[in-house]
């Protein structure tokens, strides 16, 4: 069984470590906040100028001056801090953010990522994604393994305009967990009940399989 979006988020949450400052992108990455393991402290960074994102507000307590980068109303946790957009990207550029999780349309076997533009179709802009991928120490991509047409999103080379080059370290999809290595995508774990053959057939980029591949556990 392929993972649900919630389960992709849940698997990525296992990568969090105590004391991490983390930036979560829009979509599946945002869901990672729901699965922070008990007993560790993680501070979420919002690139519009906040460290310490809290849960969504109670109904009636929405504050228009307090939003996340997806423009959703949020709250803060004790110990949070506000700052301007230059400082926000300053801390990102300076490598202070330990982990960035973001979505993608395509990832190449060398770690290139495309997620901001489909020529002739979608031109919404890159927002903060180019800044994040250019500077983050550790980037995990959360996405479906294939696009709605069933085509692989893990490719030898990206076909869409790039967001960043050689930056993605790990990819978690509905089918697999893969590391981006010097020689290609290394299959680390597979979704429960999903065969290595299925993952192979749905991965256009170079896939490295060594020995037994364990199933993903939560």
């Amino acid at each position: 069984m392929a993972l649900t979006k919630e389960q992709i988020a849940q698997r990525i949450a296992k990568e969090l470590k105590d004391g991490f400052y983390v930036n979560l992108g829009i979509g599946i990455p945002t869901l990672v906040a729901n699965y922070i393991p008990h007993g560790i402290k993680v501070v979420l960074q919002s690139e519009n100028g906040l460290l310490g994102i809290g849960p969504f507000p109670e109904e009636g307590k929405e504050d228009p001056d307090l939003i996340n980068a997806g423009k959703q109303t949020i709250t803060t946790i004790p110990g949070s801090a506000f700052f301007d957009s230059a400082m926000s990207f300053g801390m990102i550029r300076a490598g202070k953010v330990d982990l960035t999780v973001l979505g993608a349309m395509e990832v190449s076997q060398s770690g290139d990522i495309a997620n901001w533009k489909i020529p002739g179709k979608m031109v919404k802009g890159m927002g903060g994604a180019m800044d994040l991928v250019a500077s983050a120490k550790n980037i995990i991509v959360a996405m479906m393994h294939t696009n709605p047409k069933g085509e692989s999103k893990l490719l030898p080379h990206c076909t869409l305009p790039l967001t960043g080059v050689r930056c993605v370290k790990k990819v978690v999809t509905d089918l697999a967990v893969l590391d981006v290595t010097e020689t290609g995508f290394k299959l680390l774990e597979r979704a429960p009940g999903v065969s290595v053959e299925e993952i192979k057939s749905k991965t256009e980029g170079k896939l490295i399989v060594e020995g037994e591949v364990a199933e993903i556990t939560f």
Binding site: D65, L66, S85, A86, V123, K124, L162
Partner: protein, 232 residues
């Protein structure tokens, strides 16, 4: 000479067709609502607007797009606006999309009196096309120039008669950066107080950067994505 003006119409009265404007805000959060409404009333055209986003169809910069007052947008993200998309695809509107951190830092550079900065954002992508690239410690960086804007228009929660500004929560975003970067900076504030009433230790934008200030009225503060806690 007092920096205090009566209202938004007086604050923006000198803005002419073809001006380059910076407008603070992230999404609809922290936008200068009163000045946008006044610009729509005044009907100035052929504007270049530097702003992280372009508002939504019927609020924020979207109101100026509806009246076809904007010739060019310089932004990082422009989704959620059908009229914007229509004008872009029909070629009526010119758009320059740049990384958000680059946008912020080009404002910062202008306010700090630096002609340009180097940033890694966009290296190896189409954003790098035509730009000077320099390598530091084995990593590529793009040369990006400080913005030159005729006017910066910002919103703060509090301001005093000297032009000192204090922002609120994430409504701060680009506002203090743009406030520093405009040749002329116009600040609309939710509460205008006398000099001495704000704690000098808590000022975000020192008044030297602000040329005109007024107390805004009737803030709508529209929420773009109202999201509340789910109780299970």
């Amino acid at each position: 000479m007092s920096k205090v003006v009566a209202n938004a119409d007086e604050a923006i009265m000198h803005i002419q067709d073809g001006a380059v404007l910076m407008l603070g805000g992230f999404g609809l959060c922290g936008i200068p609502e009163n000045c946008i409404a006044a610009l729509v009333r005044k009907g100035v055209k052929d504007l270049t607007c530097i702003s992280n986003n372009a508002g939504v169809d019927d609020f924020g910069i979207g109101l100026m797009l509806q009246k076809k007052q904007v010739r060019k947008m310089i932004s990082s993200y422009v989704g959620e606006n059908a009229e914007f998309e229509r004008q872009l695809l029909s070629g009526e509107l010119e758009v320059e999309l740049i990384p958000q951190g680059t946008l912020a830092t080009r404002c910062l550079a202008a306010g700090y009196g630096m002609p340009a900065i180097y940033t890694p954002a966009g290296a190896g992508t189409e954003v790098a096309e035509g730009k000077e690239i320099r390598s530091f410690n084995g990593k590529e960086y793009l040369l990006e120039y400080a913005f030159e804007a005729n006017y910066a228009i910002v919103r703060a929660r509090q301001g005093d008669t000297e032009g000192n500004l204090i922002y609120h929560e994430t409504a701060r975003n680009f506002n203090p950066l743009m406030a520093m970067a405009g040749k002329v900076t116009i600040a609309e504030v939710e509460q205008l107080v006398s000099a001495g009433e704000l704690d000098p230790d808590c000022i975000h934008t020192p008044g030297i950067y602000v040329h005109r200030i007024f107390q805004g009225v009737n803030y709508e503060k529209r929420i773009e994505q109202r999201t509340v806690r789910q109780h299970k």
